[in-house]
């Protein structure tokens, strides 16, 4: 079943079209990653979905309901981490969680336990009684995540959850996201950290200038862009000996001194060709320091799709 359906979503700010006929379908219990350049419309889509902002036309459903008109119980199914979470600055971390948890309908004694639980889960117990106005950016982000998962929602919407985090906190967030997924939570998140998307997402949506350019699996996106895997060879004392190597269906280039990049016209032939290429290079007099074959990652695909400039 589909947890989130977006069809023909249009949202403009004055003359500026932020989202242009976007379609996205997200299956229940899956993780969906939203990528795209700054200003592509990721945040706008998420906020329309949550009913925070009205949209011009289209259909936006979470668990089959339009959040603008949702009855209160349905809103409790969703947890939201904004791109820049803000709280009443005079409250402490604990007070923020207690008051938001109460608004999410959590019963008092359970809420207290649950607040302790998420503070510990995110490793921010030491900031329990600190005013949120005095928290660091990363801690604020953790508090934002804490309030999103506090009421154990079945749909999590996270706008750049891993921005502003140190490497181990990023790892922690990813672990929590994976654990939530294992429990059946549907997760929609946007991110510029493509390795995180590749690590977490079952499917991705690529957004550019308000339009959905691609929506589907990462493997499908890679196929669409048709990036081929390549062999990287590092050579010592490169005197251009490699230029004399001629093998059918093999293309050797030198992007920078000391490095060679090898492409095959037939990508099924790697197993046969790698030993032959190595042999030919050594016979030509190259001193090989290292070599490894690299599959294109999401970053390569993204750059090929979106282009370096935008």
């Amino acid at each position: 079943m589909e947890a989130i359906i977006i069809e023909g979503l249009v949202k403009s700010y004055g003359p500026n079209v932020a989202v242009d006929h976007a379609n996205l379908h997200i299956d229940e219990g899956t993780v969906f990653g939203l990528i795209g350049p700054n200003g592509a419309g990721k945040t706008t889509i998420l906020r329309s979905l949550l009913g925070i902002i009205p949209y011009d036309s289209g259909k936006v459903l979470v668990s089959g309901t339009d959040m603008r008109r949702a009855n209160p119980q349905l809103k409790l199914k969703i947890g939201y981490l904004p791109q820049r979470a803000a709280f009443q600055e005079w409250k402490t971390t604990e007070q923020v969680l207690l008051s938001l948890g109460r608004l999410s309908g959590l019963e008092k004694t359970y809420l207290k336990e649950r607040v302790d639980e998420v503070l510990e889960l995110l490793g921010i117990e030491e900031y329990r009684s600190r005013k949120v106005g005095k928290l660091s950016g990363g801690t604020m982000q953790k508090l934002g995540f804490a309030q999103a998962i506090l009421h154990e929602p079945s749909v999590l919407i996270l706008d750049e959850p891993m921005a502003a985090l140190d490497p181990s906190s990023r790892f922690l967030f990813k672990k929590i996201i994976k654990e939530s997924r294992a429990l059946g939570t549907t997760i929609l998140f946007s991110s510029h950290i493509l390795s995180d998307i590749e690590d977490l997402a079952d499917s991705v949506g690529l957004l550019q200038q308000g339009k959905v350019r691609y929506s589907g699996t990462i493997a499908g996106l890679k196929k669409e862009v048709d990036l081929r895997s390549e062999l990287m060879v590092e050579v010592v004392d490169d005197k251009g000996e490699w230029a004399s190597v001629r093998l059918p269906g093999v293309d050797i280039r030198q992007p920078s001194p000391g490095y060679l990049v090898v492409h095959l016209s037939d990508v099924t032939q790697w197993d046969v060709m790698v030993p032959k290429i190595m042999e030919a290079l050594m016979n030509a007099g190259c001193h090989i320091r290292s070599f490894n074959r690299r599959e294109p990652n999401l970053e390569d695909v993204y750059m090929a799709y979106v282009g370096g400039s935008n």
Binding site: L50, I53, K75, L76, Y80, A85, A86, F87, Q88, W90
Partner: protein, 207 residues
Amino acid sequence: MNGFYRSKVMIALLIGMPLIALLLFVLTPDLEGLPLGSFTALMISSMAGLLASTTLAVSVINERTQGVYDLLIVRPVRRPHILLAKYLAVVVSVIAAAFLSLLVANIYDWLNNSPIDIGSSLAEPMMVTITMACVSCAVAILVGSLVRSVLLGIILTLYGGNQLSAVIVLTSLQDMMSTEAAAIIGLALAATLVVLAVIMFNRKLNS
């Protein structure tokens, strides 16, 4: 109702205002005929109103522009409740502060002059205070819902809110109409402004 929106400023007001009232009376015992109660009411409610209404306007502007309300909207909270809760919290605090200071003032008066009926000498100034608090805080939430700039918000609240409430209260002090009539007009005005503020707040949150 949602009392947790209350802030530290309000608590300071509750304690600070009676203290200021006390100080005022110690320093200026001779008030040239103006009834002591009315004088305190004006003094305190304009000061408390000044502080409270600008604080209220600034906090609405900040919280709105920073996106604090987004996290409330995605929960089962009605949008008008967010603003009304803030309004009520501040108005109630101002009224409580004013009541305390009036009480202090009247007790001082009672100790120093001939014994007077505290109950009746409290009623009219309280009516003035309540009216002023309601009007100036209503202007504050309206300004807070409309404006994005904190500076502009403060200026509009100061000049709009406090002048407006002062004008209404002054008409009664100058015996142009009864305090009751002035209070009714003031409260009606406040109610209109609150409704307007709620409408604007909804609209602005929607963009």
